[in-house]
Symmetry: C2
Subunit: 283 residues, 2 copies
């Protein structure tokens, strides 16, 4: 496995693979890898000739008061995990090379980026779209793998790829969870012991909302109960708790047939902002 | 020469060429081709294995009160010119395929896009960057050719390519002129006979400003005289007349050594908005 630091060197290699007819898969990450990333790497390994894992804590997707400085970093362990999962390259550029002085170009998505995390974290998806577009140009993947824990991110990126005609297939993989239901996230490292004990209640609240929707309760009422259930978790502050159309992220359409709803939440638990979600078929 | 209408078919072809190790050149145009485009096609033909000319009147780069509906169209003649210049493909998608319903992703450049045409035509460079990014994804060029008449456009696109790490080399080719000095433009077709007679005075005013700068006159004074000279052209309305740093498009730096100034103008002459420019070395 090669560790590539230079964007130019990464692009030279990926273009060379393309000329050789190789299919490249990209697993874009911010490092601090866990079993969720491992599942993405395994899925990538099954479907591509070359697997690139990018490790880059992207400053452009953090707000000024967010956790950029303290975001967990574990480069050696991340490389070991990538090697164990058969990655061909770890691409780990530094921020100064990714955003040289005078950088002034952004990729923005203006519909799916608006609600949920987009409403709470202005500029977040602009940073995500821009860095993913850059990683796609540098790594030239035919396939790129994202986790469904970040459901809105996967939708936004799929829309960007469609709208900009990028020759990349987006593969969204199921959320990987701890045994008690907590969705894996690098930010779980921020949880204190008591917070960690309470964190699975987020998943339980979502599961409860899913059952209510399944029984035919109205989305507005289920959303109110979901919010109340989350607010009762000790130490929790609800950032949002929403039930939306799973394709458009707009308010659910009562007349919709087919498709799905998305139950999506973001909750601060101590220093950690945790997100989770579940899709439920319209009934 | 093939005429390709479908974005999907264009991308399939360009990716196939890439796998075969072919170097593709793209000449992006809005059709209504003239000798300026011909020069771009010839430059492309000399440097690439495959030459694609795109013909697409991009609605996203026109403002609501601009000339989208009446922009000149001459598809058969354009194809004949491309064939004569050895293009391999004319890519001529329709707007509904390029911007399907629900398109919500844009590429924006926020520095070089601000002054000059960017100040007068809000959203113009957003439309340009977005369509050029899409054309690059669809045509997979290693080289793309732009005319220096649109000097700001060439700079904005070069910045986009740098910032988004697109594996494309931007080649800017000299402005082609009529014998009387008028820069070739598809929009010259809008000029009435009298306007056409007066149009070369734009070029003369710029040349006068270049001589003054060469003699060491201050940029601010030269800019005022340039504006006055343009305003005296019968039937003209000056949109802007500016002397800026040729790399940053910011006000000229008195302490700058090396580099160049750009004399850039936009003038309405009847129904035509004409632009022209000249680079002059700092002295």
């Amino acid at each position: 496995m090669r560790i590539v630091r230079s964007p130019r060197a990464m692009q030279r290699l990926s273009l060379q693979w393309k000329r050789e007819g190789k299919v490249t898969a990209l697993v874009p990450t911010m490092g601090a890898l866990h079993a969720g990333h491992r599942a993405l790497l395994r899925a990538a390994r099954r479907r591509a000739d070359k697997v690139v894992a990018s490790l880059f804590v992207n400053p452009a997707q953090f707000g000024p008061s967010e956790d950029l400085a303290k975001y967990p970093r574990s480069f050696a362990a991340d490389c070991a995990l990538c090697r164990a999962e058969g990655a061909d390259v770890v691409f780990a550029p530094d921020a100064a090379q990714m955003y040289p002085p005078g950088s002034s170009t952004w990729v923005i998505e203006e519909a799916l980026s608006k609600p949920l995390c987009g409403a709470q974290r202005p500029g977040h998806f602009r940073g995500v779209c821009t860095v993913v577009a850059k990683l796609f140009m540098l790594c030239q993947p035919a396939l790129a793998f994202f986790g469904m824990k970040d459901a809105q991110q996967a939708l936004v990126i799929a829309r960007m790829v469609r709208d900009l005609n990028m020759p990349v297939r987006i593969v969204a993989c199921p959320t990987v969870r701890e045994r008690d239901g907590l969705a894996l996230s690098s930010r779980n490292a921020y949880l204190g012991a008591a917070e960690r004990r309470h964190a699975p209640l987020i998943r339980e609240a979502i599961a409860g909302a899913a059952r209510r929707l399944g029984r035919g309760e109205g989305a507005a009422q289920v959303q109110r109960r979901l919010h109340a259930a989350l607010a009762m978790i000790p130490g929790a502050r609800v950032d949002y708790a929403a039930i939306v159309d799973a394709d458009t992220l707009s308010p659910p359409s009562p007349r919709r047939t087919g498709g799905a709803l998305l139950i999506a939440v973001a909750v601060f638990l101590g220093a950690a902002r945790l997100i989770d979600n579940e899709r439920v078929a319209y009934r």
